[in-house]
Amino acid sequence: MVGPVLSPILLILVPLSAAFLIVLLSSVLKQHGPVLAFLALAAEVVMAISIYPAAAAAPIEVVIAGVRAPVGINLIADPLSMLMVLVVVISALLVSLYSFSYIRDEQKSRYSALFLLLVTGAVGMLLTGDIFNLFVFFEILCISSYILVAYHRGGLGLEASIKYLILGSVGSLFILISIGMIYGALGTLNMAHIGANIDLLPEGTRLAAAAFFLVGLGVEAAVFPLNSWLPDAHASAPSSISAVLSGFVIEVALIVMIRVAGSVFQITQVFPVLMVVGVITLLIGEFAANRQPTLKRMLAYSSIGQIGLILFALSVGTPDASSGALLQVINHAAAKSVLFLVAGYYIMRTGSGRIEDYAGLGRKMPVASFLFVLAFLSLIGVPPLLGFFSKFSIITSALSAGTVPSLFMAGLVLVGTVVEVVYFIRVMQVLYSSRQQSVSIESGIPAGALVSILLFSLAFAAGAAILTPLTQAAGSAAAVLF
């Protein structure tokens, strides 16, 4: 261990208190709420980076209010949760940099406060070691994302938000039912304690509780068939919010879901089912993406496809496949953020959401469009971008698992990739077509937003250069899962 390590509880405290400070001081801060949010997130990134090495060496347990688990509530910072926390806070920092110029209304403080609450929820869900505490952070995450989806108060955003709210709340009810069943039978809420005593549960109760929990989190993770809200919510939200919703929110829910299934309920026997669900989610997402006329809906369906791929990889159940899945989480967080953030300015500059209206934008916004293409290529998995290595390791480890169904499903994953290529080419044809743009584009992308997009792109473009440490981090994180 190197020197005294900061307590991981700060990772939750800092964004939470900054969110309240922004609201309290909104009359003093005026238009500068986002600056405070940016500073809080920058501190968050620094703290997460400084905590990570210690957590990777040995899991850090934080005892809250001096009461030890299983009676008290604890936080666990291990390689998996800290890796995901890093993904969350770095994405959030870059998106908040983008939001400086992208969010242009009067009440920026409200946006910043909600954004920080969303980060609090995501970080809390990853770090907590208590199943009811998990529910509370899950609700913080959900409620702030419902509001942020409707942030512009357009008809579509409001509709998407209430649809998301109703389905999301049904999901949280299911989680509560599961918590009630566990507590009624075991009398504990601590995840490690439940995991150690799970054999005391009758098989029926255990499967029912697990099913309620998985369905509940599955709604937020957008697993088929619980994902009908996602294309609406992710397409109607402000683009900066779409970027975080697609970039890390659904991934956090998915990782927590697999983690609870594996280490709390220990129901590895259902993983083949999850594998099939993952491949179905992947194919439905990619085929639906191919049919979309609007760019953001296409990207949203592509996120469903990617979540399917990650679920598939995680439920293969080998450390190699899981480490590939975590690499894919990193790749998707970076690439999908770039796609949504660039799409935000495409929409702002042309005033249209439809792909056909973006004719010739590739030449009018050259840098952004180049990064847009690069991000798409990384999602497809073209070498030497990070996406190639993650997809490659997912496929090879699924193949080396060797069973006939996993071979078959690895083939279906490749079919999904082919569909991705098809709609990628469709977008490219429009972006770089020589047809004249009817609306004249007066300006490109502001410098701050462009810097944020550039830094996101670095993650997948240079990811191959730092592949060894990345794979190591993903590997040690995957070891926690199994």
Partner: protein, 121 residues
């Protein structure tokens, strides 16, 4: 006979009855208000189920008073604390949903989700 109709099992039946009614409302109704009411019914059902998880037949409130010095006959306070949290969260969600409903009504002048533009329900 007496074994089946304990307070706990009756409460559980009531709880799951409410949850099922609420979910049915959510998946069959088209009026946003009725969707929100369905959500609330299911919410109340879950809360009853949670309180029930710590209920002891004939137990007292988990407070040490003059007459009661033993924790053996008290109901479990943890689920009650959980329900308190769950009620607050449920209240927040209902308030938010109603707020969104007002905005939606201003935009579309209808509460019927099928008549709203744009999205498929």
């Amino acid at each position: 006979m007496n074994q089946i109709f304990t307070v706990t099992s009756l409460m559980n039946i009531a709880a799951f009855g409410l949850i099922i009614i609420g979910l049915l409302a959510i998946f069959t109704q088209r009026n946003i208000f009725k969707l929100i009411i369905g959500l609330n019914l299911a919410d109340v059902g879950v809360n009853i189920f949670l309180v029930n998880a710590g209920y002891i037949d004939g137990g007292t409130a988990p407070i040490f008073t003059d007459g009661i010095r033993s924790a053996q006959i008290m109901t479990d306070p943890v689920p009650q604390a959980l329900v308190l949290t769950a009620i607050v969260i449920g209240f927040g969600i209902t308030a938010l949903a109603l707020g969104l409903t007002i905005r939606l009504f201003e935009k579309y002048h209808t509460l019927d989700v099928k008549e709203m533009r744009g999205l498929k329900w």
